[in-house]
């Protein structure tokens, strides 16, 4: 997928990041604010989880007890408190999400930067490699890798991170290529500025917002991937994550017990966090995309007014 991908991702009018852009265009959007609030809330819960939750593995009541005053979300197939399990799961799921996203962003960002900035042979080799990785189906590869290489948290983070960087690399490369061709970069280069200065002073600041937006989207993908891997019984057996809770509910036959309280909440948590990430990441990308600000077709029409009186 080269020509087609490139055509789809190359912005016709380049993104230009200037001071105040993030504040005026991104942070003004209600979508971004809502997404950020949701994420902040979950991060807070994750940080405070040792304080907020009781021992999530302790059996505190009968198996699949319906929600009650003592256990507002009931108990799971092991008789553990669902609320505590969810809170503990928040920590692990977010950790996997953020850590894997950072790994991906680092790999993808470096490859995209090197490829776009140096161009020529380096670009050809790196992008050829990226194209190979892109067409290999990522989630099955993760599942296979997790099945083969074991089930520790670190392994899972690395597996997700090492496989999910391709879109980042392509995105960063496209933006770097367009920035590299801008006149101020050409001029600095013509003046004899070194690569470190060109990248650090001119290129990276133009790429950073896009990279951040992309990383936020990667968090969502990684949390998702974790639920897949764990659902197939390939998660770290000693840890509790949202994916693990869905798996437990399924294997413990919560369905047969009609224990909706054991199944619904972990999925809702995943969905909310993924939604939050998507809202933040997407609205950032949209705000940076100048092509979305124009629309030549609308259901609304322009208005009519009476002619104002001539100013005397």
């Amino acid at each position: 997928m080269t020509a087609a991908v490139e055509a789809a991702e190359a912005p016709e009018s380049p993104i230009e990041v200037r001071p105040g852009l993030i504040r005026s265009k991104v942070l003004r959007q209600p979508q971004t604010i809502a997404g950020l609030t949701v994420l902040a809330l979950f991060v807070l819960v994750a940080a405070l989880s040792p304080v907020l939750a009781q021992d999530p593995k302790a059996q505190v009541g009968p198996v699949f007890q319906a929600p009650s005053g003592g256990h507002p979300l009931g108990t799971d197939g092991g008789g553990a408190d669902m609320t505590s399990l969810l809170i503990a799961g928040t920590r692990v799921s977010l950790m996997v999400g953020f850590a894997a996203a950072v790994v991906s962003a680092l790999i993808g960002g470096s490859i995209g930067l090197a490829s776009g900035f140096f161009g020529g042979k380096i670009d050809t080799i790196l992008m050829r490699f990226t194209d190979y990785v892109i067409v290999i189906p990522d989630v099955p590869l993760m599942i296979v890798a997790a099945a083969l290489f074991g089930r520790s948290l670190t392994n899972i983070i690395l597996i997700i991170g090492v496989i999910y960087w391709t879109t980042t690399a392509r995105l960063v490369r496209a933006q770097v290529k367009s920035v590299r061709e801008r006149v101020y970069v050409k001029r600095a280069r013509a003046l004899g500025a070194g690569n470190a200065r060109l990248i650090g002073k001119h290129v990276l600041p133009q790429v950073a917002p896009l990279l951040i937006a992309n990383t936020v989207l990667l968090v969502a993908y990684a949390i998702f991937a974790e639920t897949f891997i764990t659902f197939l019984g390939l998660g770290d057996p000693s840890l509790i994550s949202w994916g693990r809770l869905i798996e437990n509910a399924f294997t413990d036959d919560a369905l047969l017990n009609d224990a909706w309280w054991a199944i619904v909440p972990p999925g809702v948590c995943v969905a909310i966090v993924v939604l939050g990430c998507t809202m933040v990441g997407q609205s950032m990308e949209d705000a940076l995309n100048p092509r979305l600000s124009v629309g030549h077709l609308s259901v609304r029409r322009f208005g009519l007014r009476p002619v104002p009186r001539r100013e005397a």
Partner: protein, 324 residues
Amino acid sequence: MTGLDYVAKRVAFACATVLAAVTLNFVLFRAIPGDAVQALRCQHCTVQFKNALRKELGLDKSKWEQYKRYLVDLAHGDLGSSVRSQQPVWDELWPSIKNTMPMLALGYLFAIFFGTIIGVIAAWRRGTFVEKAGLWSGLGFYSMPPQWLGLMIVLFVAGAVGLPTSGIKDPTLGILGDASTLDILVDRIRHIILPALTIGLVLYGEYALIVRSAMLETLGEDYVLTARAKGLSSWATVWKHGFRNALLPVVTLGALSLGYIIGGFITVEYVFSYPGIGLAIVEAIDQRDFPLLQGAFLLLAVSVIVFNLLADLLYFKLDPRVTT
């Protein structure tokens, strides 16, 4: 460069990728500590049996020899044998493939149909309630883990609509007398609907979002303004000048998201105990039957590569500008 050049390039790339996938597959499964036989979960197997199995599978030879043998076997359409059942992998997988295909196709059709319609309408009716509804429904389904959505459907939908939630065939069918072909067909479809719906909904979310943003970008192009100036109605403009152009990124991104979709259907088949490739993979993981897993993964990888090639060629057909 001519159009033919483009096709040649894409086909060459697809072939190279298949080889890369084959190699990756080989390397991945040889990189594990121990080997496939050791990993097999089998309590009754003796050491002698395992050694014999090793010899049979060629695991006693050097890695390079193994790789060559692997390539030669593949060239003959031989994906190896399952360590558990001793049956050729292809024979093990073929029935699953036949089960997966119609289910996936149904889900895909559902997603493409509704995703495209809702995406187009959401972009066209920018700023209205319709857009918000389309956007949020898309975002919602897009954010749900497929296996969880499957569980939700089992829990809240299946009972209400009276559709089976597990397997592919009613075990009682044909017991109380011969079932007609129609009965079998209806039974099959009843089993397919819910897993297909799950996949369809997840994909619907993705497609609706992609189509919407591609349409939004297209509607900002100058030729859309020209079309309106020419007197085209709003609907004609969307259809004649927006849709086909917006399809371009959809084709690409749709093919790119295949990997994710495959991840989704593996878990969904597991939830519905639907005997397709996904379930075969889950069982292979469970039994540590690596040759089977290897074969299934290769099969998925090659089909994704083929779909990407098709997407590339479709893109070429849709966009006259593509020549490189």
